[in-house]
Chain length 345, copies 2
């Protein structure tokens, strides 16, 4: 049967002290004599005393717990970010409660309530892609619980205790296209996903602007918009290769579609990168397994998680009467040039 765990009261009785003294001794308060502290600590050790965090949290009004709400913990991106969050939170002494919205606005709402009821001290959220209204975050703001969006944020949701960490997709795309141009590409195709998603929108814009900035025309025939998987990437590439003037470079908004393209180009006995250079986006694990290895853009997933927690911590410290909203933090993505786009001389 369960040995009831030792409580502060138990320690107090055994040592003939008051609960308050025990509590103070355990938290190493200044005005407890060293002698007493020693006795208390020793007994605590012996009885395997473990403080009841729930009680302490209730009393203090602080739970030492951060809430995390992500669309899901699958794929490449979110696990990495969550890993960054969990690691940094542990370092700063926070527990982490994790919920998934499953890309559903309703579940998101419920989970936010849940986290608030659990008295988390701050919340880290990446929005479900179906979320359209933000009433549930209103409550968070009213309670003045620090809120940090990461990756997927609400653009116009301001508040003194609301902030965000995102990665600069535009910049990443711009770097890719610039790199391809430097490699001598002049007809650079682009694979993009649905443009109502900001990630694709921003990468697409980076593509256009980089071309223009380098004096190249934007050819709408070289832009393919589809559901970004390997099969569709292959399909799109086949179409491009049929063009009278085929592209000599491809920037794909994700790695999966890029792999599809890579396979098609190779199958047609064209060389990568000499005939067609290819760059993906996200730096998925498999990018270094392809032949040739696929250039891609690292989104700094772990860094994003880490930064988000640090930001939250800062907001917690600065207290409720801070001035303006902190500016969103924009992480610089990192272009990783591998064989698929590095032309030999």
């Amino acid at each position: 049967m369960a040995n009831r765990r030792a409580s502060i009261t138990d320690l107090a009785k055994t040592l003939g002290l008051s609960p308050s003294t025990i509590s103070r001794a355990l938290s190493d308060h200044d005005d407890v004599s060293e002698a007493t502290k020693a006795r208390v600590r020793q007994l605590a050790e012996e009885l395997h005393y473990q403080p009841n965090q729930l009680a302490a949290a209730l009393r203090r009004g602080r739970s030492n717990t951060l809430g995390v709400l992500v669309p899901h913990i699958t794929g490449h991106f979110f696990p990495q970010v969550v890993h960054g969050i969990a690691t940094e939170a542990a370092k700063l002494g926070f527990n982490v409660m994790i919920c998934q919205s499953n890309e559903d606005a309703q579940q998101e709402q419920k989970n936010i309530d849940l986290l608030m009821n659990s008295q988390v001290e701050g919340i880290l959220v990446s929005l479900a892609n179906t979320t359209q209204s933000f009433g549930h975050f209103e409550a968070v703001r009213q309670q003045n619980i620090p809120l940090v969006f990461f990756d997927r944020m609400v653009e116009d949701f301001q508040g003194s205790n609301v902030s965000a960490v995102v990665v600069d997709d535009y910049q990443g795309a711009y770097q890719v296209v610039t790199h391809l141009i430097e490699q001598g590409c002049t007809r650079i195709a682009h694979f993009t996903g649905p443009l109502h998603l900001s990630i694709h929108k921003n990468r697409h814009q980076g593509y256009r602007d980089a071309l223009t900035a380098h004096g190249l025309p934007v050819d709408e025939d070289l832009i393919a918009c589809f559901d970004m998987n390997q099969k569709n990437g292959a399909q799109a590439m086949r179409q491009f290769l049929k063009l009278p003037q085929r592209p000599d470079g491809v920037f794909s908004s994700n790695d999966l579609a890029a792999v599809g393209a890579l396979q098609v180009v190779k199958a047609q006995r064209l060389r990568v990168p000499e005939d067609v250079a290819i760059v993906g986006f996200s730096n998925e694990m498999f990018t270094s397994l392809t032949e040739p290895m696929l250039s891609s853009v690292d989104q700094r997933c772990e860094q994003m998680g880490k930064t988000a927690v640090q930001l939250l911590q800062k907001m917690l410290k600065s207290g409720p009467n801070r001035v303006g909203p902190p500016k969103p933090i924009v992480l610089k993505p990192k272009l990783l040039v591998r064989e698929s786009s590095q032309k030999r001389r």
Copy 2:
């Protein structure tokens, strides 16, 4: 400033009722009049009343929270399992607190304490690979907190409230080798990682036994033991291909090394699977990206998480005075035959 959130006492005062009535009304207790319930609910709605879980948990002695402790949330396996856990837990109405041990026994110990202090109702653990002693789990057992190991378990740690969910690696390997034999392979090589890790040990044993069962000799020259990455897999394959009698099949204990082998075989102008059939293990995402697509073994990661939570739930329900320890649940892995091992006729 933070509007203090409405409490039960607040509702009670406003409605001229007692806190207990409010509490009962909110939890839809039988002996509160419908009229009262309606009034209470309406006011609760208006004031956006949210119950303080901490207080309720403290009072009830039940936190409604499960603790999860994994080595890390990176790679392929753990994110998937965690996803399964989180999804199932949410379905059953549990919150989830997640910690990482970073493969470090000390952190594991600390995290276990942390979870217990947080009054989790049950704990799901996958062991750090450095864990040698199990004192920290002793405490869990003494408190009679249900404990479920998944994937990496302690073999001889029994207890009425301890159980485990694992996948049958031996069986998976056995299936692979049987399949290769059915495809006509007679010289089947094996890549394995360090044999003190049970996953590799079991897969290795499955390999040997399957060969023997089908009347094939176990040739030690066809077994390579190394750190299982792509490079080393390629290296090992090169060695094998130099043998006077080269292998006509390869069973790799993970997918990464299998990809290395695949690339080498192709580079030497041998055909996969006709000349050399290759099968990996884990069903990583990239297995369907290779050319030819790599056969592999699905470890049912999500199912494992789901099953672990269900098991925990069962243990919680059956109460502290159950009889023997539940038997470990062994999941059947699933062989996925893809192009790399399916010989055409």
